[in-house]
Symmetry: none
Subunit: 421 residues, 2 copies
């Protein structure tokens, strides 16, 4: 059979055609398909309507080797993907006994009543293969259609991802003829996109026309920049060497702002640096209200190096729980370097940790003044003998100010932790 090289991704769900929801599953799938050397040629969003769905699948089958859909496999009356595909392919829906048993078992284990509609999730277009879903009742479905492949996946990201990884990737790989794409990612904190690109562009621009062409793109989010490198071909060791050399030259030029070249998050890197020193960390959060703690504890195993903290949202908490001097608050205001410093000391003493972070700022929309406009944030850091306090003026709305505060605090701590002891 001819190798599959092109894909179309269809996101199914009327809610994805409203101004309130956007399909992001296709980003994950694109990444995975690209890794197999499969190009995504089209992406589409279609509502929960039988005719629209059938039309979208027909169009996709007219122009792509692989058609992958996400969504519309749920138990409700407006989940119609499997029905539409059965119509397009002219196949009957056949109830899969093992899927039916798994659905019944799932409800019994949870001691829940099973609504009758749930059983339609055991229906598979004739000749298709149900792909087990460990996280939900809707299985994925793999259908060979001549030389083409149709894959139906559920919409919830976790279910979609796990079914793809466990049951789709390998099957697709067997059909690609070996061509692959490799990627690298360089993550940078505390620099503006234009500054990063000014340093990076002279380095990566010539790569586009080198013997192993490397594509580079830059992606910015509040407080963080990512450089993405990719190359394709069938000599993987050669491609990997070219990409690794590329990563090395960019990472050297951008050091020390580069915090990871292997996909790790900033919080994971900070955690590993703390753990390597057998240090623990405590946080004192005012305007971020727990965001730093939430992010740190998102890292599995964080209890090894994260002790906890105080959400000192009200000023009374800064006085009572962090031993901030009332005179400091009066003299400098809650958003000030002396108060941030006192908060860091207070939380470090209370939690008896080697490291501490404190954040106090004005996230907006209200509370700004001429001297301290919205976006003013004071951040203090302690790491052993190292101590630092800085005032930032972040741009953007409440959410952006808070996110940038978290990244700036973690980056201050990381800079201290990578310095020699």
């Amino acid at each position: 059979m001819r190798p599959v090289t092109t894909a179309e991704i269809l996101a199914v769900g009327s809610e994805l055609l409203t101004p309130h929801r956007i399909d992001t599953n296709s980003l994950h799938l694109t990444d995975k398909l690209n890794a197999l050397g499969i190009d995504v040629r089209f992406k589409g969003v279609v509502g929960d309507d039988p005719d629209a769905l059938a039309g979208a699948f027909r169009t996709a089958l007219s122009r792509a080797d692989v058609v992958i859909s996400t969504g519309g496999l749920g138990p409700t009356a407006d989940d119609l993907t499997r029905e539409a595909v059965a119509v397009v392919l002219g196949r009957a829906l056949v109830r899969d006994a093992s899927v039916e048993a798994a659905i019944r078992r799932r409800f019994e284990q949870r001691r829940l009543h099973m609504p009758a509609g749930n059983l339609k999730q055991a229906d598979v277009p004739a000749g298709g293969k149900a792909l087990p879903n460990p996280n939900g009742t809707a299985p994925g479905i793999w259908i060979a259609h001549g030389e083409q492949i149709i894959v139906l996946l559920p919409g919830p990201p976790r279910e979609m991802r796990e079914i793809y990884t466990a049951h789709v990737a390998e099957r697709l790989h067997a059909r690609t003829g070996g061509r692959q794409v490799r990627r690298r990612m360089i993550r940078i904190a505390g620099r503006a996109e234009s500054h990063v690109d000014e340093i990076a562009a002279p380095i990566y621009t010539p790569w586009a026309s080198s013997s192993i062409p490397i594509e580079t793109s830059i992606l910015a989010s509040p407080g963080q920049i990512e450089l993405h490198l990719s190359a394709r071909g069938d000599d993987l060791p050669e491609i990997d060497r070219a990409l690794d050399a590329g990563v090395r030259s960019l990472a050297e030029a951008l050091a020390p702002a580069v915090f990871s070249v292997d996909g790790r998050s900033l919080e994971a890197v900070v955690g590993e640096l703390l753990h390597a020193r057998s240090w623990t960390l405590a946080v004192a959060e005012s305007c971020t209200g727990g965001l730093v703690g939430a992010r740190l504890t998102d890292v599995p195993g964080s209890s090894a190096w994260f002790a906890g903290g105080v959400i000192a949202y009200a000023n009374e908490s800064k006085l009572r729980d962090l031993d901030v001097d009332a005179a400091l608050l009066d003299r400098h205001g809650a958003v000030s370097e002396p108060v941030a410093d006192a908060m860091a000391d207070g939380v470090r003493v209370r939690f008896a940790t080697e490291a501490a972070i404190s954040i106090t700022g004005i996230a907006g929309p209200d509370g700004g003044t001429v001297d301290k406009p919205v976006g003013t944030v004071a951040i203090a850091m302690r790491a052993g003998q190292a101590r630092q306090v800085r005032t930032f003026r972040f741009a953007g709305d409440r959410q952006m100010v808070r996110q940038q505060s978290v990244i700036a605090a973690l980056e201050m701590l990381r800079q201290a932790l990578i310095a020699p002891l």
Copy 2:
């Protein structure tokens, strides 16, 4: 002419088919089109390839009254939208003298050399109308094609938005026959999607064929369900009455699990209920590590009712900062109802608040036991005299367990706050 009622939005650009970029222009356009009563039936993403583009426009013209594209109008060789549309419509590209003059003027004013390619931005498919772009060199283009309309807009959001507002909205409105779309959203916590649908489907299913048909869709995320209702027509007061009646009957059937019918988030609703009683809230978080606090402080003005809290990630913090009895920890373990209860009391006393939430659980991936598997979470709540403690067994990964914990805790508090004092 027949009024236009349906639209397809095409986002053009090969970068939008990578794992790193997503089209968001379509959210803005959907909002604007919906306000005119135009339904977005399909959204597509297509790369900078002449055949792919032509195919995408042909498909779109086969199923929508209005086709709006964004992107691919730039000066470079891979900007091909206008060329593809000219081919699809069988029309020649004609240079528009006034656009050409505007482009030349723009370069002269900036004293920049104009690359020759830029003049192709003055080309318009014969019979089309150039729509001036005050923020760039690429004009938008409006093309009448029989009873259908094609609108080409540049990709940069600011250019796209301004051209739409200044030149497209009014022209489209003249073609809609006055029909508009209205929407409602019902938000529900603490119920499974299938259970919500079992109650809701018998109510909403008949609406699809009522005199003012209402479309209903259901959207689930961990711990939370949304029901979206929409209806269209030209008698707005009548549509609003039908939708409001629909919201009322669903909200009654699903009460008291419905926490908002006006788009407010659970944390915003909880904040308003607290504020109405002039109460303040403190949180004691173990496995959620600050997520509850982060979410509450995402609400602007939350300092009026949120005092702060303790991130008691390590057991020492539960003892020291929340006055949990060491014997309780020994006897029942950190993840237990007695410890959750003691944490809630401890944080309420420390922060001197009327309301408190505490969460202690096993988010995974490690730490589970036979008795207390990953997903076991004990949550305690205090609200004035009301007190409650519950143990949950949440399904899913670390992130999902944490998210469901946050919503369950906020929902327990909300239930107490809506009860009569």
